[in-house]
């Protein structure tokens, strides 16, 4: 596929990183140093130019692209580039990134002439809402309209002794779920009934949303169901998170240092309790019983502040901390410091956008452990050699089918079930094997 990317920032480079193998990529950006950095790392064509100039876009060869991705940090540039893409490359799929939720709503109503609109803020908010739903998971993704959930869990000694060290066939695991992989140090195990989960493992589970919650309780019995969250920061990301969580009926207390923004936020969200405070004052934390919330979300603009606030609230007794890491390098620092989950908005956005670059049979893709693993959502072909085989007889080739969607309903297959043509399958695989898996199905 020929992909034309406008914007070589964090989102752009993550997209290039994920797609450079197997695709022909051109990148356009205003800043030469960024382009050079990209060109030295990957085999891509780079063009210096303005995303809002039709001349520049044409010169860079947008006309021959099959997929145009406008992912600069500026909405206006992306909108204009998307508009020109319609003229210059009428057959291409266009994807634009936006920071304004209003544009996403406009697009859903069919008022914006682009194929997909992806908002960093909304994607981040969705990611956080999934994490809140399965608090023991480090990362979760949903497939097949929310019927299938994939979660990555870190195993420690909090986990219930019913699962720790017990062969999987004897452990009380939810039936509509499957352990897709056990990651033990550098080793990846595609487990059978005799394998065990031990302290220090990471596991990937594919199952129904209900099963994911049960897993969360098995692996972190103290976690419970989150109903009450504290949210630091009421900027664009914070507001998007508040909107999504309030829609789900959670109780949200927001803390915002800027008086003016606190006022605007309080006006926008009648159901949230908004405090105009830094949230670093011991008196305030004590008086408002901030530490008694079930989860803290830290969505301020400054990663260092997020880290500090999370540590402070941890000290005040908050059991579960999720922090926004705007810089990819912060993710490691956050995890080192004991933050339970960190979310990188641009990474989440890139991941969402990368989904559009795959085979048309593929509906959705998620990346785990950086880019080491992928979860694919593929529709099987008539000609696939696995059609009619029982799952028991399928060879293990570094990939595992976690769920199939047949007639719109998700099934979590066991040994005796068979694969049928036209099934949508959710497959967990090592990234390197992904093209092969798609081919084979």
């Amino acid at each position: 596929m020929r992909i034309f990317v406008i914007g070589a920032g964090q989102v752009g480079s993550t997209i290039v990183e994920a797609l450079h193998e197997g695709h022909e990529i051109s990148v356009l950006d205003m800043e030469a140093p960024r382009l050079q950095a990209l060109a030295t790392r990957f085999d891509v064509a780079v063009h210096e130019g303005d995303g809002t100039s039709r001349k520049d876009l044409a010169k860079a060869g947008m006309g021959s692209a099959n997929l145009v991705i406008a992912c600069t940090s500026r909405d206006e540039v992306n909108l204009v580039a998307g508009m020109f893409a319609r003229r210059e490359a009428p057959g291409a799929t266009t994807v634009i990134r936006t920071s304004t939720i209003e544009y996403v709503e406009l697009w859903r109503e069919g008022q914006l002439d682009v194929d997909f609109v992806v908002s960093s803020e909304l994607e981040t908010a969705y990611a956080i809402s999934r994490i809140i739903g399965v608090p023991a998971a480090r990362q979760t993704d949903v497939f097949a309209d929310g019927q299938v959930q994939v979660g990555e869990f870190e195993i420690d000694d909090d986990a219930s002794p019913e699962v720790l060290g017990v062969p999987l066939r004897h452990a009380p695991l939810p039936r509509d779920s499957k352990v897709a992989a056990i990651l033990r140090r550098e080793e990846t195990i595609f487990p059978g009934g005799d394998d065990v989960i031990v302290d220090g493992d990471r596991i990937v589970v594919i199952g129904s949303p209900g099963a994911a919650k049960t897993w969360s309780l098995l692996l972190w019995p103290a976690g419970g169901t989150v109903r009450d969250v504290i949210l630091y920061g009421a900027g664009r990301v914070g507001s998007a998170i508040a909107r999504v969580l309030l829609d789900q009926g959670l109780s949200v207390r927001m803390i915002e240092a800027s008086r003016e923004r606190a006022r605007v936020t309080a006006e926008a969200f009648p159901d949230a309790r908004v405090f105009s405070a830094t949230g670093f004052d011991a008196d305030f934390l004590e008086r408002e019983r901030i530490g008694s919330a079930q989860a803290g979300i830290f969505a301020m603009r400054d990663d260092a502040k997020n880290l500090y606030a999370a540590s402070l609230l941890r000290a005040h007794g908050i059991p579960f901390a999720i922090a926004i890491a705007h810089e990819p390098v912060s993710v490691a620092a956050f995890e080192q410091a004991g933050i339970d989950v960190s979310v990188n908005p641009r990474g989440v956005t890139a991941e969402e956008i990368v989904r559009f670059a795959h085979d048309p049979r593929m509906q959705q893709v998620a990346m785990l452990e950086g880019n080491r693993f992928e979860v694919l959502d593929v529709t099987t072909r008539e000609s696939s050699r696995y059609i009619g085989q029982t799952f028991r007889d399928m060879p293990v080739h570094g990939a595992l089918i976690g769920a199939i969607v047949r007639d719109g309903r998700a099934i979590f297959p066991h040994g005796d079930d068979t694969l049928q043509a036209g099934d949508r399958v959710v497959v967990f695989t090592e990234a390197a094997n992904a093209p092969w898996v798609v081919e084979a199905l």
Binding site: A262, R263, T265, A266, E267, P270, R273, V274, F275, S276, A277, F284, R287, E288
Partner: protein, 510 residues
């Protein structure tokens, strides 16, 4: 003198452009005089003198014209600052205009200038307090003139002027806001002229409807007393929540059916006209039910009426339909600041009087023709108190005050609190003056009477509770009390703040 010094010139003395303001007052007076034409046909049909109305009209229009010409050369412009002066002066002028026919044709009882001016102010401000003691002595044309002044004053003279005069197209909004009371004026259209026209259209429409409803009772033989003349006279004072009646015993003489019709129209008159326009004319009645103020307004009316019904029944004053009707009528009349009475409630026991006294402070809705504090302010004040209590515990908590779901501007919130304080202050001051004069002259006004008399004038209601009660008259009060009441009616109609602004030093001097 240097060139710069010549440009700077001498110090400007006044911050407000009085000449420009007077010029506009002149224009308004010029057109206001035309209103005197209305009673002339009535005078002719009843073979009464027409010259009092001719004199009033010519004098007002002539003075207005003269004032307009005298200030014609002025370069000034009526801005926000001048607006306050225009509104305040216009209402003083209007009361004077209304008083001229009383002085000339009102006979003995209205011959004193203070009494005539009191009656005029009570008319235009839609108060309904009266110094008339002998209704039979009044000519029919003067009767109708009293009713008509209330009708003109109800929706506002300046709102009317904006609707018809092209001159007020610019800068009229702020003046309209001081005249159409309530913390936030609901916008019906982008242009204030269209808003003003829609409001007057609805006002005229409802008046016609009520006249027809009442007159049909007479035509059908249900109520012999309800002649077309009485129907129009009472529609003229129901819709502006005025309360003047052509009858010495107010609406007591009319049938139960007529009283219920009046209750319905009093309730409509006390509702927000912009809301009524959207709900009734644009046929979106659900808007009414979803409006917080309207719901509270109805709830107060229902609860207070039910409580009063129980008291009337309990004291054995009335029972059955009569108890429900008497209670509902007095509550709605006093609450909407109309001021009719269907019984002499001044004779009731103290508990019942206190109930009526309490609803004097409720008022109509914002943007209605009613006066007093108004339901929306009570609603906002409740929310403000609730917030203060919450913030005592959590000072960092940000809690926007909401009305119908949308946040209310903090300035408006403060203005509501300030208004209520000023209102109570003006009431206390007025009651004080009345009580002192009553004590000196021995008029025999009780404590509650003095308080209620000031409250009824400030709230533009009408009857008080003692000698100033529904079947009584304000005639026996002393001159100082009457002047005080005139002042209270005036500031009450303009919702105090436009007048209070005139009392500040920085209004006049830079």
């Amino acid at each position: 003198m240097s060139e710069a010094a010549a440009r700077i010139g001498p110090r400007r003395r006044l911050a407000v452009d009085v000449a420009a303001a007077l010029n506009l007052v002149g224009t308004l007076g010029k057109y206001l005089g035309l209103a005197a034409v209305f009673p002339i046909p009535i005078a002719l049909t009843h073979h009464e003198a027409i010259w009092p109305f001719v004199v009033a009209g010519v004098a007002t229009s002539g003075l207005g014209f003269a004032l307009e010409r005298a200030t014609a050369g002025v370069q000034g412009r009526v801005g926000v600052r001048e607006g306050f002066l225009v509104v305040s002066l216009t209402w003083l002028v209007a009361a004077g205009f209304a008083a001229i026919p009383y002085l000339m044709a009102g006979g003995e009882q209205l011959s004193s200038p203070i009494d005539a001016y009191f009656e005029g102010m009570s008319g235009f401000t839609t108060t309904g307090a009266t110094v008339v003691t002998n209704y039979d002595a009044l000519e029919r044309s003067v009767d109708m003139w009293r009713q008509f002044t209330q009708w003109l004053g109800g929706m506002g003279i300046i709102v009317l002027a904006i609707a018809v005069l092209p001159r007020l197209r610019v800068g009229g909004r702020q003046m309209m806001e001081s005249e159409l009371p309530g913390p936030e004026m609901a916008q019906l259209a982008d242009r204030i002229r269209s808003t003003a026209r829609a409001l007057w259209l609805l006002y005229v429409g409802l008046t016609v409807l009520e006249t027809l409803a009442l007159a049909s009772l007479g035509w059908l033989g249900i109520d012999d007393k309800m002649t077309p003349f009485e129907a129009l006279a009472h529609a003229f004072t129901t819709m502006p929540t005025g309360g003047f009646s052509t009858q010495p015993r107010s609406v007591e003489v009319f049938s139960a059916a007529a009283q219920w019709i009046i209750v319905l129209f009093m309730l409509l008159a006390g509702a927000n006209f912009a809301l009524l326009y959207r709900g009734l004319v644009r046929r979106r009645p659900r808007l009414l039910l979803h409006d917080e103020e309207f719901r509270l307004y109805l709830a107060i009316a229902v609860v207070a009426s039910a409580a009063l019904t129980a008291m009337l029944w309990g004291y054995g004053i009335d029972r059955g339909e009569a108890a429900v009707r008497t209670a509902t009528f007095q509550i709605v009349s006093i609450m909407t600041t109309t001021g009719y009475a269907s019984t002499n409630f001044a004779l009731w026991p103290a508990l019942l009087l206190l109930t009526l006294f309490a609803v004097m402070f409720v008022g109509g809705s914002a943007g209605s023709t009613g006066g007093s504090i108004k339901v929306v302010r009570h609603l906002l004040l409740g929310k403000i108190l609730r917030r203060e209590i919450d913030q005592t515990l959590s000072p960092e908590l940000v809690m926007p005050i909401r009305l119908n779901g949308s946040p209310v501007d903090e300035r408006t919130v403060r203005a509501v609190a300030a208004f209520v304080l000023l209102y109570v202050g003006a009431w206390a001051l007025g009651s004080g003056i009345i009580a002192v004069e009553s004590a000196i002259s021995g008029t025999g006004l009780g404590t509650l009477d003095a308080l209620a008399t000031a409250a009824t004038a400030l709230g533009n209601i009408g009857p008080g509770l003692g000698v100033t009660g529904p079947m009584g008259s304000f005639a026996s009060l002393g001159a100082a009390s009457k002047v005080t009441l005139i002042g209270l009616m005036w500031v009450g109609r303009l919702e105090i703040i436009p007048v209070a602004v005139l009392l500040t030093r920085h209004y006049w001097r830079l």
